[in-house]
């Protein structure tokens, strides 16, 4: 699948085929996609815990429910818990990884980088003060983890899977999975084969980019180029909106299939 088609096809899937297992190979594809995500300082911020629903006891599965994620846990065969590992906030990690980037030609003298700069200046002058601010540490770790999650989700779509991000039942997850305190829980990603139309009857409503993007100053909204919009429609990034009546009929059928509230 082309990248734009995968981005255009991604939906938050809320009805999964409960008994169609997800191949471990496909989960590995997702994890490798996450591992290719952009990351400042080439630091490994993200951590993921892959949990197979059927490996959990019924009591544990029950305890992992939250008010917004109940039926979904029954249906999705795989849960991936994503964390930002705050232990990254160590100047020595940055020193080691930045020097690695200098060595492989990612950070170059053309842009002011050298081993000497890393050793003698950047860590003491920039990294250490930055890492002393808990707000910055939290922001950086979680945003970089979010980038990794995004790539994993697109890879899942490319593999024919459905995905949806959900809140984590923190108390239970901590008790059951015993993740360390310096792992900040971000999201649970439910994974499975969609039981619903993978395109959910059309794309979800999005406001125009001109209401969110500006050029040069905040008084000048981005002006869309109609030809580009048309090209993106042809390439699958921009798709038709939901046919509401058709979708309502599908949702009702799904509710009946799974015994859910109609």
């Amino acid at each position: 699948m082309e990248l734009k088609q995968a981005m255009g096809n991604r939906r938050s899937i809320r009805y999964f085929q409960p008994d169609k297992p997800v191949e471990k190979e496909k989960i590995q594809v997702m994890l490798e996609a996450a591992n290719r995500a952009s990351r400042s300082g080439n630091i490994d911020y993200w951590r993921a815990l892959v949990v197979y629903r059927d490996e959990l006891s019924p009591d544990t599965l029950d305890a992992l429910r939250v008010p917004t994620t109940t039926a979904d846990l029954d249906m999705a065969p795989v849960q991936i818990y994503w964390f930002a590992d705050m232990s990254y906030a160590d100047p020595d990690n940055f020193r080691r990884n930045l020097k690695e980037l200098v060595k492989v030609g990612a950070l170059n003298p053309s842009h002011g980088w050298s081993d000497a700069y890393v050793d003698e200046n950047v860590v003491g002058q920039i990294i250490t003060p930055m890492l002393s601010d808990p707000q910055v540490v939290g922001w950086m770790g979680t945003i970089e983890t979010g980038l990794a999650i995004c790539q994993a989700m697109l890879a899942a779509v490319d593999e024919g899977l459905g995905v949806c991000l959900h809140a984590i039942n923190l108390g239970t997850a901590k008790q059951v999975f015993k993740f360390p305190d310096h792992w900040v829980p971000c999201w649970t990603l439910l994974v499975g084969y969609p039981a619903e139309d993978p395109l959910t009857g059309g794309q979800r409503p999005r406001r125009s980019i001109s209401s969110m993007a500006y050029v040069n100053n905040l008084d000048t909204p981005w002006e869309e180029i109609p030809a580009v919009t048309e090209r993106l429609k042809a390439e699958g990034l921009i798709q038709n909106p939901v046919d509401v009546d058709k979708r309502a009929a599908e949702v009702r059928k799904l509710a009946q299939r799974f015994g859910l509230p109609e």
């Binding site: 008994d19 008010p67 509230p261």
Partner: protein, 116 residues
């Protein structure tokens, strides 16, 4: 409560309007009325009281769903389903019919899915 009394409750009308249940067969409608009526008797409240009891007023004067009372209601639904002798798919479906009534009256509540 009789099915007629249940059907006359404003909250039940709201449920049927919102979920577009009016076009269902009479048998299906009666099943819903009976089930909700039985649950109301189990709890000792009318349909309107069920909904109102899950709403609290915040210090700012706004309405909000009480998480504690919702959890208690969820447990009561499960208890009612068990006491009524429903098992398997029927247990899931009938519990979720009651949750559907709450959902369409603005109470965010989810039930389990039948995987069988």
């Amino acid at each position: 409560m009789t099915p007629e009394e249940v059907a006359a409750a404003p909250s039940v009308g709201r449920w049927f309007d919102s979920a577009r249940l009016h076009s269902d067969s009479e048998e299906e409608k009666q099943l819903r009325y009976r089930l909700l009526g039985d649950f109301c008797e189990h709890i000792g409240q009318s349909p309107d009281e069920l909904v109102a009891g899950l709403i609290r007023t915040t210090k700012a004067g706004e309405t909000a769903i009480s998480g504690k009372r919702r959890a208690a209601m969820d447990a009561s639904i499960d208890e009612f389903v068990e006491k009524s002798g429903f098992t398997g798919r029927d247990a899931i479906v009938n519990g979720n019919i009651i949750r559907s009534f709450l959902v369409h009256n603005g109470i965010f509540i989810q039930g389990r899915a039948w995987r069988g």
